[in-house]
């Protein structure tokens, strides 16, 4: 009992502690990176339950700001192989269990 309670606490803890946005790989310039990261965080928090809407929001904002055409994948478990335009890729983790991959390729 104690153990499960503890493990639950730990889980909650790590979820809290690990919920900050962590950039895993990117080759964007500094400004662009910061902006994109903040946009992803906003979108994921807004559409916490619906990945599709969050991705839609991110994609449309990116298209407007940085030109077409962007692709966004949000999820908890997937593998991918993509071709992206150099200096237009961001792969980050957020919220302890979400992975967001944003890239541009027209």
């Amino acid at each position: 009992m104690a153990e499960t309670a503890e493990s639950k606490k730990e889980e909650a803890d790590y979820k809290r502690v690990h919920s900050f946005p962590l950039i895993r790989h990117t080759d964007m310039p500094e400004e662009m990176r910061v902006e994109t990261m903040e946009l992803c965080v906003t979108a994921c928090e807004k559409f916490a339950t619906n990945n599709e809407s969050a991705a839609k929001m991110i994609k449309e904002s990116m298209d407007k700001k940085f030109g077409s055409s962007w692709h966004v994948v949000i999820g908890e478990g997937f593998g991918f192989e993509i071709t992206h335009e150099v200096k237009n890729l961001l792969y980050m983790f957020f919220g302890g269990s979400l992975a967001v991959c944003v890239w541009k390729c027209s």
Partner: protein
């Protein structure tokens, strides 16, 4: 109608043509005329008025009798042409006789003008309309308008009476005329030519371009829960480690980071630095090729004529070092680098009190005589410099403004690493000599400086600062006596040169402006161990003999060079050079050889084992009116460098005679090394001493 005729002389012809309505024919026609005019207006008063007038006769008037005057002439006016014949007869072929014409034409034509109006029904008009009729087909609007006009009951009757075509045409005509007038120019039928021209249209060209598409790259990863978890854990660990490091070394980290950043920025922006090394090698090669003969001389040339000259030698000029920006400065200090035997430092400034400007610290290498290796511009003129014996990148410099500085050659920037300021105890007068010492007990580097303000100070490099301590205060009367501060200040002597003993660390000599040389010890700050009345003028240089522990040499502007044994108060040798001596220096390879430079541009080399009274070489090295200021022997190569007051440094090679080693006797191994030199000197001194002692 009264025609105003104000004619004076009335002509007689007019008299015959007097109109019939005139009844009265008075003699005075002038007044008659007036009566005519007035008659219509004032008929009653004419008689009275005419009687009042005087009679004037024109001179050529016809004289007619009364009866003749009253004659009445009748004239009948008709509309007949007076020029037309009264009776015209024409031949009639039918009756074969002349017959009179009944009517004679009385028409007189005065003026005929041909007009160009055509009746609209005439042939010509039809033809013209036909020509213009092509455009009528394009006027459907007008035709509808015409139809409407036709329907109007107000249309004049004559339009309907005429054939419908004309009616239709008329309406369009009148309606069209206004509109077509805009389009059709009324052209002159007989004298009209149309001209048209077209300007050159530039030929069209097609251009296409395709930009390069932005580069693409592939990327792949997997997004799993455990991957995410692992990444977060790693990140947290990294953060904790960073925090620890921060607490420990916050300051240093920042410095390093900023330095790295600047370094990175520099390397990113300056691509020439990549080529820098190669360029440097190229430059050296080019110089070597350009000055190939000098390089060959430097290495291999030995003056063969020295064999014939018993005791004399020569100096072969080699490279000449100059720097553009140093042209107006005087060479005030020279120093060979102890580690790199081809590198030497030149300090530039000015000895002239009134003309003090900036200075420069320049490093030359023998491998590149055209451009310095290192250049450090300074605000104040440099007066002395010294390179640390073991750390050959540390250079101590003394300035004219009394401050001292230490430059680190390894650093990239142009600024001194350490600099003394007024707060940190810089001298108040020019610093004439600096010398490095052995590291002190805390392993901090330190050096000494002597200046005209009478202080000998020691400077220690502690972390970022220069700390100074006064070692000795020089005063005129020898040992300092307790006096009021003012008086003490006044009696300060001005130190112009000093030198530390090679073996005995605490012992050093100071030469002053008054011509005295003091032997001092680092331990005693107020008292001198010994004072020598050396010269009559300022002592320019004081040097210990590198081999013999007791001998030192001094030179002065009073034209003399003196060699001393420090135990004896009077000089061992005195040499008069006939000119103020700028600098004197012992040779590194022999204890009995030294060289001196004078301000007349000559270098004097003495070898006491060969000639005790005269130089074995006296050579004019510089151009006219160039003063030589400093001289230095290269510790390894047989060359000397000489600095002058135009900023040039000349290198000279010593001929074999000048660097004679004692001849080897057959079969005897000659002991080499400093003992030999010491022995040499001892022998010389003994020669002098014996007569003294006796």
């Amino acid at each position: 109608m009264p025609v105003p005729q104000r004619m004076g002389p009335v002509k007689p012809k007019q008299g015959s043509n007097v109109p019939s309505h005139l009844t009265k024919i008075p003699t005075v026609k002038l007044t008659k005329k007036k009566d005519e005019d007035d008659g219509t207006e004032m008929a009653d008063g004419t008689d009275e008025w005419t009687q009042g007038k005087t009679l004037i006769k024109p001179p050529d008037q016809l004289d007619l009798s009364e009866a003749e005057l009253k004659e009445e002439f009748t004239r009948i006016l008709t509309a007949n042409n007076p020029h037309a014949p009264h009776n015209i007869v024409r031949y009639s072929f039918k009756e074969r006789s002349y017959k009179p014409i009944s009517n004679v034409d009385q028409l007189a034509v005065h003026l005929v003008l041909d007009g160009n109006l055509l009746h609209q029904d005439s042939d010509e008009a039809c033809r013209q309309r036909a020509r213009q009729g092509l455009e009528k087909g394009n006027m459907p609007v007008e035709s509808t308008v015409a139809e409407m006009d036709n329907e109007r009951p107000d249309t004049p009757v004559f339009g309907e009476g005429v054939a419908e075509e004309f009616g239709a045409e008329e309406r369009p005509d009148s309606a069209e005329s206004k509109s077509t007038r805009r389009e059709q120019k009324l052209t002159n039928q007989f004298n009209f030519s149309e001209r048209a021209s077209q300007t050159l249209n530039n030929p069209l060209r097609q251009r296409e371009c395709q930009t390069e598409p932005p580069p693409r790259a592939n990327f792949s990863a997997t997004a799993n829960q455990w991957e995410i978890y692992d990444a977060y854990v790693e990140e947290l660990q990294k953060q904790e480690r960073n925090k620890e490091k921060h607490k420990a070394q916050s300051m240093k980290k920042e410095e390093e980071k900023s330095r790295k950043k600047t370094a990175v920025v520099e390397t990113q922006s300056d691509d020439i630095t990549n080529v820098g090394r190669a360029a440097k090698i190229m430059e050296r090669m080019v110089n070597q090729n350009a000055f190939d003969d000098i390089a060959q001389d430097f290495k291999y040339f030995e003056d063969a004529s020295d064999e014939f000259r018993e005791q004399e030698g020569t100096l072969l000029p080699l490279w000449r070092f100059q720097y553009d920006k140093a042209k107006r400065l005087t060479v005030t200090a020279l120093c060979w680098n102890p580690k790199y035997k081809d590198l030497f430092a030149v300090g530039l400034g000015s000895y002239d009190f009134s003309k003090q400007g900036h200075g420069m610290l320049i490093f030359y290498s023998l491998k590149n005589s055209t451009f310095p290796e290192y250049i450090y511009p300074t605000l104040s003129g440099i007066l002395c410099l010294d390179i640390h014996s073991s750390l050959s990148y540390l250079v101590a410099v003394g300035f004219y403004d009394g401050s001292v500085a230490v430059y680190n050659l390894k650093e990239e920037d142009d600024e001194a690493t350490y600099r003394s300021t007024a707060k940190s105890g810089k001298h108040t007068d020019p610093v004439w000599q600096v010398k490095w010492q052995k590291d002190d007990m805390d392993n901090n580097h330190c050096f000494f400086s002597v200046s005209s303000d009478g202080r000998v100070a020691s400077w220690t490099l502690v972390k970022n600062e220069l700390l100074f301590t006064d070692i000795t205060k020089l005063s005129v009367g020898g040992a300092t006596v307790e006096r009021s501060e003012e008086a003490r200040h006044l009696t300060m002597a001005c130190g112009t040169s000093f030198d530390f003993h090679k073996k005995i660390d605490y012992l050093f000599l100071v030469g002053t402006e008054e011509g005295k040389i003091h032997k001092c010890s680092k331990a005693y700050s107020s008292q001198f161990l010994e004072t020598y009345d050396a010269h009559n003028m300022a002592v320019e240089a004081v040097r210990w003999n590198p081999f013999h522990p007791k001998v030192f040499i001094s030179c002065s502007s009073d034209w003399t060079v003196k060699i001393w044994d420090h135990t004896v108060r009077s000089p061992m040798f005195t040499f008069d050079l006939n000119c103020a001596v700028g600098d004197v220096v012992w040779s590194p390879y022999s204890s009995a050889v030294f060289a001196a430079v004078t301000i007349d541009g000559k270098v004097h080399v003495f070898d006491l084992t060969v000639n005790k009274y005269e130089p074995i070489c006296q050579q004019l090295v510089a151009a006219k009116k160039t003063k030589l200021t400093h001289i230095e022997f290269n510790p390894v190569h047989p060359i000397i460098i000489v600095g002058d007051d135009h900023g040039f440094v000349t290198s000279l090679k010593l001929s074999p005679n000048l660097r004679k080693k004692p001849k080897e006797k057959k079969g005897q191994e000659l002991p080499k090394g400093p003992e030999v030199e010491v022995a040499k000197m001892e022998k010389l001194l003994n020669l002098l001493r014996e007569p003294d002692n006796s």
